[in-house]
């Protein structure tokens, strides 16, 4: 199993993604620099978190015109699984591979902490996660998912919401400002419909603000995020 991790100037979770894919999952994972035009022949692509191009203009905007992007689009078009994490999610929305946009956190804070997510849609990265609760970290200032009413209706109607922010039992917040026992907002950024991650129409391109790769083994405080990598391995196995 080959996994490509795209590196942009300003990526900072590229190593975390490579570590989870290569050392924890055991895949043949390697970096692909943004200036390359060929992805090689990976089975899956990870677009990692960070602050590509310093978040200039808008997060992910300038990365959308990197030399590697046409190859990434082609990979998506032929049905290759892509996981965009944090800044990677922002980049995938800027590319139009996923609908909507990520805007400034409603409460203007950079949120760096653990959150609970409820799995909903089944897809390449979420086999068996529907109804399950996972605990993974977030680290972002621009993670408020926004889209127009029509797009939201399509996402909900087509079952493309992969993850929603929730409490430890899997209940989504009753109000946007509901807090947990520690006084932290369950929905950390004010995302529409508490959305933390969405799929494209094919169920193979996933974007999410939380970091599953940073919760890929117990040593990191949670191994819940590893389920996404296991799901990918299973997806590739059955697709073979």
């Amino acid at each position: 199993m080959q996994i490509a991790v795209i590196q942009f100037p300003g990526s900072n979770a590229d190593w975390d993604a490579l570590h989870a894919a290569r050392d924890v999952l055991g895949a043949d994972a390697r970096y692909v620099f943004h200036k390359e035009t060929d992805l090689g022949s990976p089975d899956a692509v990870l677009v990692p978190g960070g602050f590509s191009y310093g978040d200039y203009l808008r997060p992910g905007a300038i990365a959308g015109y990197s030399p590697i992007v046409p190859a990434l689009r082609a990979f998506a078009k032929k049905g290759g699984p892509i996981l965009g994490i944090c800044n990677g999610f922002q980049i995938l929305t800027e590319l139009g591979l996923l609908p909507g946009a990520l805007t400034r956190n409603q409460h203007l804070r950079f949120e760096c902490r653990m959150v609970h997510l409820r799995g909903e849609a089944e897809g390449a990265f979420t086999h068996g996660l529907a109804g399950q609760v996972i605990r993974v970290p977030i680290a972002h200032a621009d993670g408020r998912y926004q889209c127009d009413a029509e797009t939201l209706k399509a996402l909900e109607g087509e079952g493309r919401v992969a993850f929603r922010y929730c409490d430890a039992q899997g209940n989504v917040p009753a109000s946007p400002d509901e807090v947990d026992a520690e006084g932290l907002r369950l929905n950390p950024n004010g995302s529409l419909a508490h959305i933390a991650g969405i799929y494209d129409a094919s169920g193979r391109v996933l974007g999410m603000m939380p970091h599953p790769e940073r919760a890929s083994e117990a040593l990191l405080g949670s191994a819940d995020g590893f389920t996404l990598f296991q799901s990918l391995a299973q997806h590739l196995e059955t697709a073979r």
Partner: protein
């Protein structure tokens, strides 16, 4: 030719930054401030002299990169 490109959040998009500025202005005693929206001004120097061509080019720049049509509107003006 110089162009000023204004990129602003669509009216229906929440602007928490604008709200924070509004509250700060209120705290300074500017009680009549009802609403603040923060946008961007992008100044561009263009080499050409053809106004029509410049307008077309600027619209293309905005659509492709300078604005995100999902959340933002744009307008621009040319200075000679």
């Amino acid at each position: 030719m110089k162009a000023n490109v204004y990129v602003t959040l669509k009216q229906e998009v929440l602007d928490p930054q604008g709200d924070a500025v509004r509250r700060a202005l209120g705290a300074l005693g500017f009680d009549d401030v009802k609403r603040v929206r923060v946008g961007k001004l992008i100044e561009i120097d263009l080499e050409g002299a053809d106004e029509a061509a410049a307008k077309e080019e600027l619209a293309s720049m905005c659509e492709k990169l300078l604005a995100n049509p999902v959340i933002e509107d744009f307008r621009f003006e040319l200075e000679k």
